[in-house]
Symmetry: C3
Subunit: 315 residues, 3 copies
Amino acid sequence: MKLFSSVHDVTNIGELVAEGLQLKQSPYAFQDLGKNKTIGLVFLNPSLRTRLSTQKAALNLGMNVIVLNMDKEGWALELQDGAIMNGSTVEHIKEAAAVMGQYADIIGIRSFPGLKDRDEDYSESIFNKFVKYCGVPVVSLESATRHPLQSLADLITIEELKTKPRPKVVLTWAPHVKPLPQAVPNSFAEWMCKADVDFVIAHPKGYELNADFTEGATITNNQDEALKDADFIYVKNWSAYEPYGKVLPGNEDWMLTLDKLQPTNHAKVMHCLPVRRNVELSDEILDSDSSVVIHEAGNRVWAAQAVLKQMLQTL
Amino acid sequence: MKLFSSVHDVTNIGELVAEGLQLKQSPYAFQDLGKNKTIGLVFLNPSLRTRLSTQKAALNLGMNVIVLNMDKEGWALELQDGAIMNGSTVEHIKEAAAVMGQYADIIGIRSFPGLKDRDEDYSESIFNKFVKYCGVPVVSLESATRHPLQSLADLITIEELKTKPRPKVVLTWAPHVKPLPQAVPNSFAEWMCKADVDFVIAHPKGYELNADFTEGATITNNQDEALKDADFIYVKNWSAYEPYGKVLPGNEDWMLTLDKLQPTNHAKVMHCLPVRRNVELSDEILDSDSSVVIHEAGNRVWAAQAVLKQMLQTL
Amino acid sequence: MKLFSSVHDVTNIGELVAEGLQLKQSPYAFQDLGKNKTIGLVFLNPSLRTRLSTQKAALNLGMNVIVLNMDKEGWALELQDGAIMNGSTVEHIKEAAAVMGQYADIIGIRSFPGLKDRDEDYSESIFNKFVKYCGVPVVSLESATRHPLQSLADLITIEELKTKPRPKVVLTWAPHVKPLPQAVPNSFAEWMCKADVDFVIAHPKGYELNADFTEGATITNNQDEALKDADFIYVKNWSAYEPYGKVLPGNEDWMLTLDKLQPTNHAKVMHCLPVRRNVELSDEILDSDSSVVIHEAGNRVWAAQAVLKQMLQTL
């Protein structure tokens, strides 16, 4: 694998999930693969799980890890082609990416969307320029419109915990106090649409996701109906796609509470974290056995390790 | 050892000190112990000595190290149980701690006190919640009321440099320009009270420490008297316990100067650092052979390494 | 080697360049040398290339790496001898340096000039105090007036890419929007003056460098004339030495553009990066085969590795 930016970069999803679960059993079995190989993790935004789990995955594989907080430790990046750089940006992404490619065998990069200009965000210009100019394999640590390592960890978690061959998985919108990217729901949706699950998306009117990511999913505005017989509930807020990046008024009753789990099939509740307690999800769920969010976060290691292993094998 | 938060977590202090001194002789003797084990060092506040010495200790033991500046690289933490998280905090400590426990075999955490609410600080709520929720062994990198790795390094230093079986050790308050935590003096006091030393605390009226930490110590407001025949002088500022977190006017003459060493027994001068030169301690002392502050800082490695070794042995 | 602060610390420049080029062929040949040795990289300023390439070099040599962003993760440093530290500085450089020397076998430090007080900057007081007090070998990661790892990488690049025994190398001033240090041009000049090249410096009137660094160079204010038959063009902005740290009005036409390469000998264009596109250098050059800036940045690893190898051999 030379690029891991979306589900479309994966030739065999089932194999990748199985690889993750095998690595969970034998975390240190492939340390020769990473010997003298370096991963550079570049953050343009904050990160907890991705930062730690990807480091851990790389260390498990015997790699060296170099972390760069580009915004704080490096230089302000210019992203526009042809820019006359007489303002506040110090280094063009062309040079920054190419230089980092000189020092790393694999690069991971996180770049959130601005949520101002939809075309700009959905063109993935920062991520794609990085891929174009760095010259080495790149793994997305969450880009403007996708978070594939999260989605792979989610699928690993479902595969691990499911109690029937084809579980019902419901992605349900949740309230939040500020506009969040669509990266996690987009990404979760496109992975679920390719997985062997019965996939339903529930959200209030106005929160329709870009249809490119949801082809094959059942979509409803009725949360109660969606949750019925659910095996897994994936709770997540996102801002509107149209008007782009906006929070629509109302919908506080979409917070997932314990009583909403009644009609489900003892559903396991998932969330990518960080979660706003008692806004997106109630304390009573997060503190109950229904929640698998910590287990899910733990699986981030095996998702990252499966991807890095496949990348190392092509170096 | 599963927890290192205070002297009360240590079953045999003498043995731990001896272990530190042995590791100083053979730093790399136990690298198999740490192989494929990861320590996560979580900083909610600045750190120089603790940051570097604990990394060095872990590397000496063959461990992997992941550092997280929670305040700058991660998310703003919510600490209140039951909070409706519709404000500026992004992640609850319950999730943050539990997630980090998924990625690390041992966690070190630094969390300073707010110095506003004494009950809050002395309940060690941040540190204790972290311990409660992370699910792996935790070592304090300085909490609201204690700094046990510092105290252990101090005791190692005294053991190493003492010229008589039971030296006189004086903790003397020093002036400062801003209110500092009581963590270092609390911790030093409770370790000295359990060590085989003649322990005296000298401070101006109004700077009485919480009595829980000083049981068995001789306490005086007369610095001259305290310093007489001292073998070790531990210089440290702290703010008042009552009124909590305040700096009381005056007392500038408590700065330790060279002439005050005259009546001592060629006392060695200690300080945990950072030190405000010519406010807490005069240049002439810090630049003289009486000062052992750098040697003491060097011993931070062996203190951390002794603790981590004992933790690794229980994994 | 115990100190790498300038070309004057190198006994045999040709040998050091050759060592860098050999390490490029066999990056992992000396991993025993760095086993259980730790480098501490201390940054008082931002860094991308130096930060990553020096880490990579140390890892290639089998070393442990500890990075400290002193300004953000540690304490505000006091630099004045004899200061009464009752202001905002928390730790004196005497202690900070000495303490870091306790935890590292080699220290690298970056400290930019203030560009306010020429005597202060040119005395290299921060860097020199660090060297004086830390007690271990020190490598400059760019100081107030020099950037020797960059210059060594530049010379390695020239040696690698030259097509004649004694190439013509031209350092040409370039426009910029803010005052930059003289460290890179000073350093490049003093290395080139000792190398087997025909070295020319071109700059507008008023941008004369300190003569200590340029002895033996041909200096001109005529860029066209300088570039004639050039084999390598090193583009760099710097602020005036007199009046110190100022940007003089005009000179925008000193930007290097493709047409200016016509009279050269197919010159290769170098720059230490970061570069202000279309201010210092035009897009058309940076995006053409004439530019070797990425290759040059890649060579930063081998420069650092050659220096660290020589330092490790003297430990």
